[in-house]
Symmetry: C2
Subunit: 767 residues, 2 copies
């Protein structure tokens, strides 16, 4: 666990320069605006270790698959998150010498701040250059929420002890590479470089996918806050363009470069229009100027926080943790564009490739449903509908037929992006999470329209898959599901993973109910969908047979469901009894040893109990929690939040709090020693769940919000807001009780600890 981020309610702050931490901080201080994002790379030259990354939502590259040993069925190509041309670069020369924190004589007062409240990132330091000049530097940067194609940088420099000649050389560069490239392919082809006055443009398109982009910049120079009309010198390279501004400064004077830059992309503009579109964006941004644009940024973030903030009193680290999580989720995805989704690393790194995992449905949708307009969650569901055809093709590649759909484990464009057979082919429970999200969306928003319009087709594809994927065991006289990997990826190719079997049965049952509802209430849609899917009664009765006769592994003796066949043959040594030196087992043990151990990477049976909480009694939950929790190593970022919610439900608040801390500060404290690769964006939504659903005990029961408020001892109070069916409810919970404040002008009825409470508009009730 690293621990260099200062506790602060609203900001992420690092003090002191440590070259070893540069890559980690580049991740932690990442900025994004839903449409694009970038790691906190230095603007000026830096020759130390760095991981350069600037990403455009939806722009990817189909990299040729690399494996040790090819298995039939692997995708030939898959979508990689793509490092885009650099527009932030500003070379700084001081009396002719490059400013470079890696080579200068001394760096002091180094400080980074990511101001989450206002949505900007600032870095400041004093540097003593090799040629003996001390300069004070401060850089402020943000990606505009208001004009989401543009970002702005203010680079201020002040010689401290002597006069100095400063050269600023802002540049664009499309000669960039990806860290995570399989075959050292060239990803970008530069087709045009142009400049006009203080503006420059690089046109480049991605190879193969042919996304066209224009990377642009415009710079303004201020001396002592006065705009200069300095002569600039243009430098053109094969894949770069730079301007040089030169200015002599007297000791104590400040020179500031305001740089505006960003991308226009063919996904949003005509290919031939990209430069023109860039000029428009630059015009808007420069007319506003850096400070006004920043004002707008602060207001836009204030709006986001107004709805999505969670306050925690009495525990700065917990407060900082949850705000960091909420901030990053909003930097990654704002729900404006149904072509985008929530990448596991967001815009903070390349690892994993693809942008969409089952994380979206299982973890992210609840957050977006409760803190945004319900259209945002609907867009996420629509994304999967748009990929249905590819999911059917994907299933066909694996031998399924007749419209059975298997959604990919990882995807960018609907095609599979992963190539470990035990995951790609076997971690099929993802299909269930997508069906569950449809159910969950309706349960929470009350908006049924998605199902007749789109969801029913998705459900039919998924139900068909489950029916075909199950095997009738003559021996058991029941349907079994062989050769799967459950959510617990520390088991591969197991038979009858309880979670998967349970989800499969539920998907079929749920689809059959929806077929009836759509048939009754949406005849036109029903006819359309039946015509398209050619679903027959014979098929339906096969579905029913599989669902009704599904086998569930179970121990009569222990009275628990078994994670999979044979689980009890393992040597059942609990995590507590495992030598700490052996942890994390995924770094210390060979894969076979992990597989035959009883250790669970993330909630599996308990994930099922989480999704289908109302199917089981609290006693059953307790029994299963007591059995599985001791074997769970939580080496997935998606695990502690579910356990936290369940521990809270079981009134084990200390345990719930421990899990909460682990999930909320996973990246800030770098629990897994990998933050330099990027942040764990999707699990951040789990942190939100562990407060709202865990401590707050929020559920939707019979179309109403219900709460069972609890609070960790360490906290004085906490509060969160929920948008439930267009009613905004603020919930505040302290040790003395809870209060519920309703905004707007519609009344609302909720349940608190099982008791019904009627809330009037603009009123607050304490319980």
């Amino acid at each position: 666990m690293q621990d260099y981020i200062k506790p602060d309610n609203w900001s992420i702050i690092e003090e002191g320069f440590d070259a070893e931490r540069v890559k980690s901080s580049e991740s932690l201080f990442s900025i994004g605006n839903g449409a694009m994002g970038q790691r906190a790379n230095f603007e000026e030259r830096y020759t130390g270790e760095t991981f350069q990354g600037s990403y455009i939502g939806g722009v990817y590259y189909p990299d040729k698959t690399r494996v040790g040993w090819w298995k039939n069925g692997y995708p030939e190509y898959f979508a990689k998150v793509l490092n885009a041309p650099n527009w932030i670069g500003i070379e700084v020369l001081i009396n002719g010498e490059q400013l470079d924190l890696n080579t200068c004589k001394k760096v002091k007062d180094f400080r980074r701040e990511l101001n989450m409240k206002e949505g900007w990132y600032q870095r400041s330091f004093q540097a003593l250059t090799s040629n003996g000049v001390t300069v004070k530097v401060r850089i402020t940067r943000f990606l505009s929420l208001a004009i989401d194609e543009v970002g702005a940088i203010k680079y201020e420099i002040t010689p401290v002890d002597s006069d100095a000649e400063i050269v600023f050389r802002p540049y664009l560069d499309s000669g960039i590479t990806n860290e995570d490239s399989n075959w050292d392919d060239k990803f970008w082809n530069t087709t045009g470089i142009s400049s006009e006055n203080s503006q420059a443009f690089i046109e480049a398109h991605t190879m193969k996918t042919n996304f066209a982009t224009c990377t642009f910049m415009q710079s303004q120079l201020y001396h002592q806050n006065e705009l200069l009309d300095t002569a600039l010198e243009e430098q053109l390279g094969d894949t770069s363009v730079a301007f040089s501004f030169k200015q002599k400064l007297s000791k104590g004077e400040t020179l500031a470069l305001h740089k505006f830059g960003g991308y226009t992309v063919s996904t949003n503009h005509d290919r031939s229009d990209l430069v023109a579109a860039a000029k428009k964006v630059l015009k808007k941004a420069t007319e506003l100027g850096f400070e006004h644009l920043l004002d707008g940024q602060m207001k836009a973030w204030a709006d986001i926080w107004k709805m999505s903030d969670i306050t925690i009193e009495g525990d700065v680290k917990a407060q900082q943790g949850i705000r960091f999580n909420i901030f990053q989720l909003n930097q990654t995805y704002l729900g404006k564009d149904s072509r985008l989704n929530i990448g596991p690393k967001g815009f903070t790194g390349e690892k994993y490739g693809g942008s969409t995992y089952w994380d979206t449905e299982a973890y992210c949708i609840p957050f977006y449903m409760a803190t945004k307009d319900q259209k945002v969650a609907r867009n996420l569901l629509k994304y999967r509908y748009n990929h249905l055809k590819k999911a059917i093709e994907n299933a066909e590649k694996l031998g399924f037929s007749n419209g059975a759909a298997l959604y990919p484990m990882v995807t960018m464009n609907g095609e599979e992006c992963h190539n470990e057979w035990e995951i790609t082919f076997e971690e099929i429970h993802r299909n269930g999470a997508i069906a569950f999200a449809i159910f969950n969306y309706y349960r929470f928003t009350g908006d049924y329209t998605y199902i007749p319009e789109m969801g029913l087709e998705v459900l039919i594809g998924i139900a068909r898959f489950w029916q075909q994927r199950a095997t009738f065991s003559e021996q058991k006289q029941q349907y079994v599901i062989l050769g799967v990997t459950g959510p617990n990826e520390y088991e591969n190719n197991v038979n009858n993973n309880w979670y998967t079997n349970y989800l499969a049965k539920w998907c079929i049952d749920y689809t059959i109910v929806q077929l009836g509802k759509v048939k009754d209430g949406y005849q036109e849609d029903y006819k359309r969908v039946m015509g398209k899917t050619k679903l027959t009664d014979g098929e339906l009765s096969k579905w029913k047979e599989v669902a009704d006769q599904m086998y569930f592994p179970r121990s009569e003796e222990l009275d628990i469901f078994l994670q999979q066949d044979g689980f009890l043959d393992k040597e059942l040594i609990t995590v507590d009894d495992l030598d700490k030196k052996q942890r994390p087992i995924n770094q210390k043990w060979s894969w076979d040893r992990i597989l035959r151990s009883p250790y669970i990477k993330q909630a599996d049976v308990l994930q099922g109990f989480y999704l289908f909480e109302d199917h089981f009694s609290t006693e059953q939950l307790e029994k299963h929690f007591d059995f599985y929790e001791p074997f769970t190593v939580h080496e997935s970022s998606l695990s502690p939040c579910v356990h936290s919610i369940q521990a809270a439900k079981l009134n084990r608040m200390q345990q719930a709090y421990t899990f909460y801390l682990r999930t909320s500060r996973l990246d800030l404290d770098d629990y897994n020693k990998e933050v330099e690769e990027g942040l764990h964006i999707t699990s951040m939504a789990g942190t939100w769940m562990s407060i709202v659903e865990g401590f707050g005990g929020m559920r939707v029961i019979d179309d109403k919000l219900s709460f069972t408020p609890r609070i960790p001892e360490e906290w004085t109070s906490y509060s969160f807001k929920v948008n439930f069916r267009n009613r905004i409810l603020r919930v505040t919970i302290s040790h003395d009780g809870s209060s519920f404040a309703l905004e707007g002008d519609q009344e609302m009825s909720i349940r608190v600890n099982g008791k019904r409470i009627a809330l009037s508009p603009k009123s607050e009730i304490s319980v």
Copy 2:
């Protein structure tokens, strides 16, 4: 199935030139002499598709591992079979134009012959060059058995219709690449190129492993069979050296180049001596001359055939098949050098990397024991003893301790060369095959000395591994072995693979018995081994506990052992009922579908019944054969031979014969459409077994050879020879009976169909 090889008792013959077949024929016509080998690449320039390969026994390169997703425990590097510098090259210019079968106007009378009886390879053709000259060409090539560092080529050319100026440009080239390289590393570093008179030398060493080699050549030119003293012109490149000889030929005259070449290697000579050693070899070879060297070759092969030939009367294709198998095994490994082993592709390709699989112990040792001096098999066992330390290190990497040994799945130098977790980490039955080979060697040769000297230590390491690898199941109150892959690689990560569990128990039991025998009969060795291994009584009783309480999956209802836990949950559709279009499933189905199917890649339970035949009754064998055979797809080259032997034992001769054909002509008829990658060398020993052990019914029972002779209907008779404890027995079997002829001057007692027969020296008895 391809079918372009002409049936012939002693030769492999191809007629007609087909560019599509070049790579396949390069494999089929490969030559080797145990110390080195090469694919049948053309000597002259060829611009068509080709797969260049010349290999030196024991010279490998540790290529950095490439995987899609890294699993903890994978080897960082592993040994690749290495394409060595080219010494066969001879450019041929006809009136200034390169002879190139890919670009010349016409090729006719193209013929290849691999003469297995005499050990040479010949290629002949007529070509019409673009500049209008027709030449007749014949090339004869062999790798000398007598002087195993040298090979010889006779390249004869005759202009047919006109005079012509011929240039021969024999060359050496170390600027070669490997087909199967992970990272396009440079594998060879050339350090010296020199020439002297008509001799040339390239000194080059492999990167990382630093094997030093001298590749050498010397050429002689004959005009109408008369040695010419032509002036030669030397051409030096960065990694090559060539000589040019120019000669005008009148129509009908023949010019012949005799080229001698090969390698001297630092594994056999002082590094500084390689050129001197090469000169010595060249002196020997050229003094003999091509024809005498070839005479010696024929004699050496006659000696090999004298002992190892199997004759089949009445079935040319079967005859050709078995001879091809025996020939290739002898080309690959002659048992002279205990540092070498039998690579799955021999010297015919690069695929798979490494040189040693469990194939050696399970399939090859019986062939070498029966057809060579017993030292050869002992050398193969010694090879594993020499790798014991590395096997212990390998087990340590996977979390085992206290001297437990896990031999690698694939190796060159004792280190693991494979990186699929389901095989590398889980196909642990290989350890059992190594123990079984020790048992088998003693059973066949009666030479117990290997065990006290070396084998006991190997057995202790293996027994320790099994004891540690087993898990006590509280539920079953027995020991289980979780997470393995059996010989049937179409199942991964299964629990309680019967074959593995059975072998594990047997290994422990056998080791305990050997401990007693060595303690009683070889006190010195016993003391040494105990001192070294620090084996305690406590450990022994743990071993016994595991062996005595091992769990074996079984169906009471069907009265059979189950391949693994849960096998009966599968949808048990037999191969016959599977659509033929779905075959081979490893090309048609995705991996998950294969895994959950009931289809068996190669004998698994039946492999156990093969190894431990005397532990089970014939009725049991029949029951298991009838259950498992219908699900076996034989998509491993190692499978049909075992089924052939068992079908013969069950007197199902038609089935046994079908399996025999499939194993014996696997490569000749290219059943698996992959012969261009190289030959399946190790499975060739299985073909030998299917005749000797299958049809001949040969077993060792109570220190005596025993036979149950059978013969396929298609054959008139067949015969084979066996060296049993230094007695040479020739067995001839026809439909009328069998005869047994004993060579040498010691008597021998055998059993035929259970009846004891005493054989006098130099006598023959018919039954």
